[in-house]
C-alpha cells in the first residue's frame, strides 16, 4: 500500500531540488528509507541527499531521527545543519 506525503527542502537543498514536492511512498517507510529512495532517482537528488553529507530531517516540523516511520499525510523536510543565531 502506498501513501502520499509532502516533502520540503531548505537552504542549499531547496536551491538544488526546489521547495516542495508530493511523493508516494510505501506505508511503513522510515525517513531514512525515503532518503534512499530519493537518492535512487539519480541527479540532482543523488548528489544533494548523498549519504555522508551532513543533513538533518524533520517529521511534521519536529527534528527527527532517520529511523522514524512516516505516518500517512506527513510533512517530511530535509535540510543542511542549521546556522541561525
Amino acid at each position: 500500500m502506498t501513501m502520499k506525503i509532502q516533502l520540503r527542502y531548505f537552504a542549499s537543498l531547496r536551491e538544488a531540488l526546489g521547495s516542495t514536492e508530493t511523493v508516494e511512498i510505501e506505508a511503513g517507510s522510515s525517513v531514512g528509507a525515503l532518503r534512499d529512495r530519493l537518492i535512487a532517482r539519480g541527479e540532482p537528488h543523488a548528489g544533494a541527499l548523498a549519504r555522508g553529507r551532513a543533513l538533518r530531517a524533520a517529521l511534521n516540523q519536529t527534528l527527527c531521527d532517520e529511523s522514524v516511520v512516516i505516518p500517512d499525510g506527513a510533512e517530511v523536510a530535509f535540510f543542511p545543519p542549521v546556522t541561525g543565531g
Binding site: A11, R51, L55, R56, L63, E66, P81, V82, G85
Partner: protein, 161 residues
C-alpha cells in the same frame, strides 16, 4: 507573545521594558543580541540572507523556551529572530530573560542561545566579493549545547557517518 520571527528590526530597550513591565518580582534582566559581522574568513561581507522553516521555527523556539522555564527559576523570556536580507552591523537575534536573581537569568539566556544555534531551523547565506555561500555549521556550537546535558543529535556532524 514570547517568540517572534520577523523581517523588521527590534528595539532592545522597548523589548526589555515590555518583558519587565508590571513584574515587581524581577531583580535581574539578562539580554543577548547577535549581530551581522562585516568580515568572515578574511572576506568582506556585503549582505546576509536568513532563511527559515515557517511553522517549525516557531514551534522549535517555543519548545526551547518551555525547557528553559523547566530548568531555571526564571520569570519571563523573549526571543526575536530576524529573517530575510540583512546588512553588516544589523541585529539578527534577541534573547532576553528575567528572574529574581542574576544567576538563573544569565544561565537561561546562554542556554536559550546554545539551543537556538543548533536546533532552530535557520540558515545563513553570506554574500562576499567572491559570491554568495551558505554558512557552515560549527561543531563548537554542538559542544556548547552538550554541556547542558541535552541529548540532541549533533547539528554540524553528518548523522550517518
Amino acid at each position: 507573545m514570547s517568540v517572534s520571527i520577523q523581517t523588521q528590526d527590534f528595539d532592545l530597550g522597548a523589548e526589555v521594558a515590555a518583558l519587565h513591565a508590571g513584574n515587581g518580582g524581577v531583580g535581574a534582566i539578562v539580554s543577548f543580541v547577535g549581530t551581522v559581522r562585516d568580515r568572515a574568513q578574511d572576506q568582506t561581507i556585503s549582505q546576509m540572507e536568513l532563511e527559515h522553516y515557517p511553522g517549525m521555527t516557531e514551534r522549535a523556539i517555543e519548545a526551547m523556551v518551555d525547557e528553559a522555564h523547566k530548568r531555571f527559576d526564571i520569570l519571563g523570556a523573549r526571543v526575536i529572530h530576524r529573517v530575510g536580507l540583512l546588512q553588516p552591523l544589523e541585529q539578527i537575534v534577541l534573547v532576553a530573560v528575567t528572574s529574581r536573581h542574576r544567576g538563573q537569568a544569565f544561565q537561561a539566556c546562554e542556554f536559550l542561545m546554545d539551543y537556538l544555534k543548533t536546533q532552530a531551523p535557520f540558515w545563513k547565506k553570506e554574500t562576499t566579493s567572491e559570491g554568495a555561500r551558505w554558512v557552515d555549521a560549527r561543531s563548537v556550537d554542538d559542544a556548547a549545547l552538550a554541556r547542558w546535558g541535552i541529548e540532541a543529535a549533533g547539528n554540524a556532524a553528518a548523522a550517518d557517518s
